[in-house]
């Protein structure tokens, strides 16, 4: 649904901006993993495409609010960072397939890189409500880019931090510590959000342990609702066939082992409908 929401609060969280927006309809329908798309630039903006953001937090006050956490990347997020309380924002959401949540009280590791961590907190709340054991692995380029460490420490069994420059936690990648966390926590499942190369690395660790992994894929999106076909990536279906599927409606949450990370940005020769591929129709 489309909502013209009012900005309730804006704050800086280390390297990030956080916006809380009153958006009752969206808050009500929200499930962890959902994202929203935001129109940027105002009414005569030259920026045509909406920007997508994971929903970090949902509250019931003011009829329902959503919180977005974002980093300034280009002109759209720059504009968003200039919003102030009482400004209005045009949101569409909730969008995408949310995280599938285990029915049983299993042990779960949540891996977040930079702003990717934001989407994991509502998931953690849901998992905790189902009596799961939750452990966090959070990372980033530098200390100020690790998001949510305090909150993670508060709610999770353990929280392991890492930074590429070593300014917080262990120096290195989140995947450098993931194996030992999985071992220590006897994890049954991993959820991860962050850049594609991190998702790829997380997936290969989970595969080594032979446990399921759910990753959030961030692809450039023009519509966010499944109609433009710009956000595709090669994913293997239940039938073993690779298809170019839409990150926005078929994802953004995918089973990591189904995503052909090494082929993202290409059309694998064996994908359905690939040029010259076997699936070609003979007319």
């Amino acid at each position: 649904m489309q909502v013209t929401g009012t900005v309730l609060t804006t704050r800086r969280v280390d390297a990030y901006h956080a916006l809380t927006v009153v958006a009752p309809g969206i808050a009500e329908r929200f499930r962890p993993g959902h994202f929203v798309s935001v129109a940027v630039g105002g009414s005569r903006s030259s920026m045509l495409t909406r920007r997508s953001f994971s929903v970090h937090d949902v509250r019931s006050d003011y009829g329902g609010t959503v919180e977005l956490v974002f980093t300034v990347r280009g002109p759209g997020t720059e504009w968003l960072a200039e919003r102030r309380a009482r400004d209005t924002l045009d949101l569409v959401g909730p969008l995408g397939r949310p995280f599938p949540v285990p029915r049983d009280p299993v042990s779960v590791v949540l891996v977040g890189f930079e702003y990717g961590s934001a989407v994991l907190f509502p998931l953690a709340d849901t998992l905790l409500a189902r009596s799961c054991r939750v452990d966090f692995v959070l990372g980033g380029g530098s200390a100020d880019r690790v998001f949510g460490a305090m909150r993670a420490r508060r709610i999770a069994e353990t929280t392991t931090l890492s930074t590429r420059d070593g300014s917080l936690g262990l120096r290195g990648e989140v995947t450098d510590v993931l194996a030992s966390v999985i071992t220590d926590t006897r994890a049954d499942v991993v959820y991860a959000c962050g850049p594609m190369e991190v998702m790829r690395a997380v997936t290969s660790v989970a595969i080594k342990f032979d446990i399921p992994v759910q990753v959030v894929a961030e692809e450039a999106m023009a519509c966010g609702i499944g109609i433009c076909m710009t956000c595709v990536l090669p994913v293997i279906g239940d039938d073993g066939v690779t298809r170019m599927v839409r990150a926005c409606v078929d994802g953004p949450v995918f089973r990591g082992e189904r995503v052909r990370f090494e082929d993202v940005g290409t059309i694998p020769f064996d994908a359905q409908g690939a040029p010259g591929g076997g699936a070609r129709h003979v007319s």
């Binding site: 609702i225 170019m244 129709h281």
Partner: protein
């Protein structure tokens, strides 16, 4: 009193003039989550090809000032799957459906027409001529009147008479009127314009083209002035041929520009990416604008900008209703 928004696509009547543009409304199921598709004048499908197509690699999109570049490459399931799963879904619900088709040879277009000829639920067939002709060094059909006419003629000869055949034209030509005339002469019942002009963006961080495909189609408000000009020129030359105007329509006022220039229906593409409800909003805004200007029927506004200033719009409505 509310404005009569009915319009004709050749002999097929539509409840309203605002339709989705090809390739911009998914299979219908996606938009159906937002509103009742019966409220559309019609839904146009993505261009259907014979074989399934995986399309182009990503990145497939780049934002440009008031525009969008795309290089999707006609990703789609192919005609079999379309006829099996997608068209029936629309047909069962009675949703007016313009089926767009795309091919690499005249034969492929003919084969598609044969498959569609007896399929139920086809309101009209739109021939996407912006496809590379693999028999002519990949030169796009739409760039040449003769090549376009050949495709249109073959599709027209195959489709049953009561299904209008619409030729979809591209603006990247020296003389849009010549191509339009060739298509009309070849039997096109209506024309649809404009498809995306070819554009490009370079990513100044990677120093490489922003799209994996290199070039891509430009859409969105940036191209509205090109669309208005094409519709104007073609309507001036072929006043009896119905035109679906499209290209950059974001508001009712944009739609009105195309209608005053000569379009009897308006396609909405990129605006849907920004606002899933765009078609409904645009139709409402258009109706309000028409009413404020004293029009009782949409049909009376078609092509009005061609009349000499001061000539009464009212008296001429017999002639301009298609």
């Amino acid at each position: 009193m509310s404005v009569d928004m009915r319009t004709f696509l050749a002999h097929v009547e539509l409840d309203g003039p605002v339709i989705t543009a090809a390739g911009c409304a998914g299979t219908g199921r996606e938009l159906a989550q937002f509103f009742d598709l019966h409220r559309l004048g019609a839904l146009t499908t993505p261009s259907i090809t014979m074989a399934p197509r995986a399309g182009r690699p990503t990145p497939r999109m780049a934002e440009t000032p008031s525009g969008l570049l795309n290089a999707v490459g006609l990703q789609g399931p192919g005609i079999d799957s379309f006829l099996e799963r997608e068209l029936p879904w629309l047909a069962q619900r009675g949703i007016r459906t313009v089926v767009s088709i795309g091919g690499g040879t005249v034969n492929e277009y003919s084969a598609l027409a044969r498959r569609l000829a007896d399929a139920p639920g086809v309101t009209a067939v739109e021939v996407n001529l912006a496809c590379p002709n693999i028999e002519d060094r990949g030169r796009v059909f739409a760039r040449e009147g003769a090549a376009s006419a050949e495709v249109v003629g073959s599709v027209r000869s195959i489709m049953l008479g009561d299904v209008p055949v619409i030729a979809k034209l591209s603006p990247d030509v020296a003389d849009i009127v010549a191509v339009a005339t060739a298509c009309a002469d070849a039997g096109a019942d209506a024309l649809s314009m404009i498809n995306n002009p070819l554009g490009m963006a370079i990513d100044t961080a990677t120093l490489r083209p922003a799209l994996a495909a290199g070039t891509g189609g430009l859409s969105g408000p940036a191209i509205l002035p090109l669309a208005v000009r094409c519709v104007w020129q073609v309507h001036a030359a072929l006043p009896r041929v119905p035109i679906i105007g499209m290209g950059g329509v974001l508001t009712g006022s944009d739609a009105l520009q195309l209608i005053l220039a000569g379009a009897c229906a308006v396609g909405v593409g990129t605006a849907l990416f920004h606002d899933p409800y765009a078609c409904l909003r645009i139709e409402r805004e258009l109706a309000d604008l028409l009413q404020a200007r004293g029009f009782q029927r949409l049909a009376d506004a078609v092509g009005v900008a061609h009349r000499p200033p001061g000539s009464p719009a009212r008296h001429l409505h017999e002639e301009s209703s298609l």
